[in-house]
Symmetry: C2
Subunit: 312 residues, 2 copies
């Protein structure tokens, strides 16, 4: 039997078919034509699924389930994408639409939750039952895994870890609050912090090294070039990341936390000082009980986690 996992992103839709151990056997993708009506986007996705099934000669009867990870607000029970910030889904009945053409159980969940489940079933947090994945990207996404299942609260909307206030009355957040963790620990935040430091220190190595756009790597690169300004930006950014990590430990006490998203590619340059900062902040100086690691599956986490939604 196979599982199919679909990861719907703002730029592209990826679809993978996996074996029962969630190894991806084949995958493919199509661009997300985000402005088209939701039903037409789903038609593109169905075409992609059929193509992937054909490629490995899989029939309906060979597929245990189709799982979908999507950004935005979902109705898991009904299999509907209620709305999505960047893609034109509006109460799009994706389960019904797929089932009209492919008669296989369809599950939907949040993309951040799927990435967390993917890491939990075959990535960085595979060894433990209870874990949290934090995605440091355009926003700060989170997924909570308890007993190898996504924890999503009574209504499916738990795990909005990026939307917890760490700076009272701080930077305005897209969610409507001020000072959310996301507004200090996302890549977007790091870019803002980097730009501010450049403006304030026009003669720094950081400022002089910028060739084109500032991105999430700019300050890390300057740090590697021994720029004190870049080093300070990274140091402060990591403090902000650590505050939220310690909060998660104090609330949920997961056995592992995996850090994903673009910035996680910095590897030890991020993780080592992050663990140091977490250590300083532990409750009454207790040892850090939670293992903090970088996610290992990259973009495949979403596909694999979506595939694993169909596990009983």
């Amino acid at each position: 039997m196979y599982y199919i996992g679909i990861d719907i992103g703002g730029m592209s839709v990826a679809c993978g078919i996996t074996d029962e151990k969630f190894n991806i056997i084949y995958k493919d993708s199509v661009p997300t034509e985000a402005k088209k009506p939701g039903e037409e986007i789903v038609a593109d996705i169905i075409g992609l699924v059929k193509k992937v099934m054909d490629k490995v000669n899989a029939k309906e009867a060979d597929i245990k389930s189709i799982g979908i990870g999507a950004p935005g607000m979902l109705d898991r029970k009904k299999g509907v994408i209620v709305r999505s910030s960047n893609i034109n889904f509006r109460n799009t009945e994706i389960r019904k639409l797929i089932n009209e053409q492919i008669n296989v159980p369809v599950y939907v969940d949040n993309d951040a939750n799927c990435a967390a489940l993917g890491e939990a079933v075959s990535g960085s947090t595979k060894a433990v039952d209870n874990s949290v994945m934090i995605t440091l990207g355009t926003g700060v996404g989170g997924g909570v895994i308890l007993n190898k299942k996504i924890y999503s609260g009574f209504n499916g909307h738990a795990g909005e870890l990026g939307h917890t206030v760490i700076v009272y009355d701080g930077e305005p957040c897209g969610c409507g609050r001020k000072g959310c963790w996301e507004t200090y620990a996302s890549v977007t935040a790091l870019i803002r912090q980097t730009k501010k430091a450049i403006e304030e220190n026009p003669d720094s190595i950081l400022a002089k090294s910028v060739d084109g756009e500032v991105n999430g790597k700019t300050a890390f690169d300057a740090m590697r070039n021994n720029c004190p300004v870049g080093t300070e930006v990274v140091k402060q950014y990591i403090k902000y990341v650590a505050v939220g990590i310690v909060d998660i430990i104090n609330i949920l006490m997961p056995e592992m936390i995996a850090i994903g998203g673009g910035i996680s590619k910095e590897g030890d340059a991020l993780i080592k000082p992050l663990i140091e900062e977490v250590t300083i902040n532990m409750y009454k100086k207790m040892a850090v009980p939670t293992k903090i690691v970088t996610a290992t599956l990259g973009n495949d986490a979403g596909i694999i986690g979506a595939a694993a939604l169909g596990v009983d």
Copy 2:
């Protein structure tokens, strides 16, 4: 069959015996002689348990379990109170000591967790499976209930909800961090905020109404006497409480949150503006999905929750 629940506090130890529906049939208490060696405190507790059992003519064979809620750090598996800030427990083997005299299964858990479980089995959150209880007291305690069981993470230390930073680099906290929710939303914090307002506004009704010690009621009383200064203190305090409540909703999405502790006695004067403030802060203006109520069991919550530790 009966259950026995013990609530160890800094001032007294309460012990109750309940029926299978966790109605307290009889309860009694002894003062906590907090400075005595832990083993002697346990001897007092054993005496209390025996007295309570005698009172209802219960034999060992009639008791399903003895549950203990204690402040501080516990080893649930071993049945040991590792340490407690205000009581002289140091690796006190309370299960072993009780079992030397009373041969009944003994369970231990954190006092805040027990209060949350008590409310969940027969108090304010009885109607739902997933709930959180927040105790606004000397500190801010929390207990997370998932599927009617205490959620305590892989090592038993989850649910430290008061120790999440809401003010980056804010007031120093006993846990070692700065700006924890507890340092803004506890009764201790409200008293500090009230005293500051009194100092800054010596001619206010608030300042003039103080007769003796400032306590958690002082600002609420001034508000009821139409004092603008007292009203502002309460308003700001409730904003701080709300920040943490919204964070908990965004992370855990419980069906209900119960507010306990001394300040919860304010009832609607606390809960109504709190719900308004939570509403303003909900993710993208969604309706508040979580029902927020005052806890109803008062001090009995700890006894009942401790008793319910023995449920399979």
